[in-house]
């Protein structure tokens, strides 16, 4: 591998099926040691993009390279550097887990003497030790998913592509799988597609948001959140007359809009939501103003969640207005 080349690189990549364009002019790259989350609603083009990077389909135009190898001309060299878990784990139901892993290890060119230790390594990482001799069709969904992941990890590939790796797992297994991916991502490049948003914040160093086959944003979760902090939301609960409180709040500079609701069963208490601009100290001013005249029970500043950001990108600003 050329050390200067990114682990995954897409340059103006498009994919057309007949007259339909599934992926439009997509460009981004993933470096070694990075876990990038690929976020988008169903049908956004995530799987098609993954498949182009994996070499299962070729790009209609543009250039996809993996570990410096062009997928259109050096498919096999690139495939040696790649571990891929497709959306549906590609398993042979009639084989045992160990037979299946042995087959994949053979094809990936793991030397004969190392195959056993390599299978043990991935089986331990994916907690498959107890099912190695089970036929795959007898496995539960979680084990099937983890067998698929184990297959991708075989041969310590430089680049790992995981299409919804935690789908169908229970919470404990999701936790374990994330740990596996996280530890792998320290030394390798990982591109992981998902629509579970917390997953992205937990393990990814960068997020790519795509919709209708277009890349809408790619940045770290923190930067994406910061970009959306132009408008903030401050939530407070206070015992106060509604109109007076509203007038007082609107008089504070930085408060754009106020929306209050009585708390059911708590006489005279209000839940208030203030839209504020991004300037520093607005919450402090609100707290001071309210507390000097009335009883302030609670005040919090709500940061934009990744979910809001995601919805803003894929469905336009109106969708993000409704709190989750």
């Amino acid at each position: 591998m050329n050390n200067s080349s990114p682990a995954i690189s897409l340059e103006s990549v498009s994919k057309r099926f007949g007259s339909k364009t599934i992926v439009h002019d997509m460009s981004f790259s993933v470096e070694k040691g990075e876990i990038v989350g690929f976020l988008g609603p169903n049908g956004a083009g995530k799987t098609t993009t993954m498949r182009m990077i994996a070499g299962f389909t070729t790009a209609s135009s543009g250039k996809v390279s993996v570990a410096g190898h062009d997928m259109s001309s050096q498919n096999e060299e690139a495939a040696r550097k790649l571990g891929y878990l497709p959306e549906h784990p590609p398993l042979y139901d009639t084989l045992d887990v160990s037979q299946y892993l042995r087959f994949v290890a053979h094809v990936k060119g793991v030397p004969g003497k190392e195959i056993k230790s390599e299978i043990d390594r991935v089986a331990t990482a994916c907690r498959l030790e107890n099912v190695l001799n089970h036929e795959i069709y007898k496995l539960s969904k979680g084990f099937r998913q983890r067998t698929g992941l184990a297959q991708a990890l075989l041969g310590k590939p430089e680049v790992l592509l995981l299409d919804e790796p935690t789908a169908g797992l229970d919470p404990g297994q999701i936790q374990e799988t994330r740990e596996v991916i996280r530890s792998f991502g320290e030394r390798h490049a990982v591109l992981i597609s998902t629509h579970i948003l917390p997953e992205v914040t937990l393990i990814c160093s960068r997020v790519a948001i795509i919709n209708h086959g277009r890349l809408l944003a790619i940045d770290s979760p923190v930067n994406l959140q910061r970009a959306f902090e132009q408008t903030n939301r401050v939530l407070l609960s206070a015992s106060a007359p509604a109109e007076a409180l509203r007038a007082e709040l609107l008089s504070i500079s930085g408060v754009i809009a106020v929306n209050s609701r009585p708390v059911p069963g708590m006489d005279g208490m209000l839940n208030v939501e203030c839209q504020t601009d991004a300037r520093e100290g607005v919450e402090a001013a609100i707290a001071r103003t309210v507390a000097t005249r009335w009883n302030l029970h609670r005040l919090e500043r709500q940061q934009p969640t990744l979910e809001n950001i995601f919805l803003r990108y894929v469905a336009g600003p109106s969708a993000a207005e409704t709190p989750p």
Binding site: R51, A54, G55, F56, T57, T58, E76, E77, A79, R80, L82, Y84, P86, H88, P90, L91, Y92, D93, T94, L95, Q99, F103, V104, H106, V107, K108, G109, E135, Q151
Partner: protein
């Protein structure tokens, strides 16, 4: 080569872990046994001629059941995505699968050796004729499997793959019969050349004609090449 070997091993495991291979081999052996005893008692001669002809027809109808799963099964099991993204050359995949199927064909043929026991015990059969018959049967079977494998790559449905393969193979078998309706010499020769049955008949009579050997190899090679190109194009 590592890839080819790995695919071959995986294929063999898959055959012996699914009932279809056992079923096909069993039906073939029962069928061959039936025709063998029928031919023996009817003709009273210690030869395999008629039995080889019957074996040919049986292979034509049963081998598509072996080849139907080769790629259709990979598509429907969604494992094609794995095979096409592993560091595996397309020809290694195609040839590995083909050699796996040919191994089943060899087992089928070996199973019929049991019929030779009474033949040698109670008669005086012509060994070289039997040998050439088997060579012809293997070549015929290889061509059938290569064609079946090609059709298996064209559809996700195994049944459809088998249902297309059987009539195509039967057409290749019977195409020689159309010869008598042709006045043009070129057309007559072409139909004769394409006939699976006519080439096979040479082997049954104890002849190994290079033309016939070349024919079966050519059919297999063309089918396997088309198979490889199709898979590459499919990307």
């Amino acid at each position: 080569m590592t890839g080819l070997l790995a695919v071959y091993k995986k294929e063999m495991l898959a055959y012996f872990r699914s009932p279809i291979a056992y079923f096909v081999v069993a039906v073939f052996l029962v069928g061959t046994g039936y025709f063998f005893s029928y031919n023996m008692f009817m003709s009273g001669s210690a030869s395999m001629d008629e039995t080889f002809r019957n074996m040919g027809i049986l292979a034509l109808t049963l081998l598509p059941l072996v080849s139907m799963r080769l790629f259709s099964g990979e598509y429907s099991g969604r494992t094609m995505e794995l095979l096409m993204t592993l560091p595996l050359k397309t020809w290694e995949l195609v040839l590995g699968k083909f050699l796996g199927a040919v191994t089943i064909l060899l087992l089928m043929s070996a199973g019929t050796f049991i019929d030779l026991v009474p033949l040698y015990l109670y008669g005086n059969p012509h060994t070289t004729t039997i040998l050439t018959g088997y060579i012809g049967f293997l070549l015929l079977g290889m061509a059938c499997l290569a064609i079946g494998q090609l059709f298996s790559a064209l559809t996700q449905n195994q049944i459809v793959a088998a249902l297309i393969t059987v009539p195509v193979l039967l057409s290749f078998w019977y195409v020689g019969h159309l010869q008598s309706f042709q006045t043009s010499y070129v057309l007559r020769s072409l139909l004769g050349y394409l006939s699976f049955a006519q080439h096979f008949a040479d082997f049954i009579q104890g002849l190994i004609r290079s033309e016939a050997v070349l024919f079966y190899f050519l059919v297999s090679a063309i089918a396997l090449t088309l198979n490889t190109s199709y898979l590459q194009w499919r990307r």
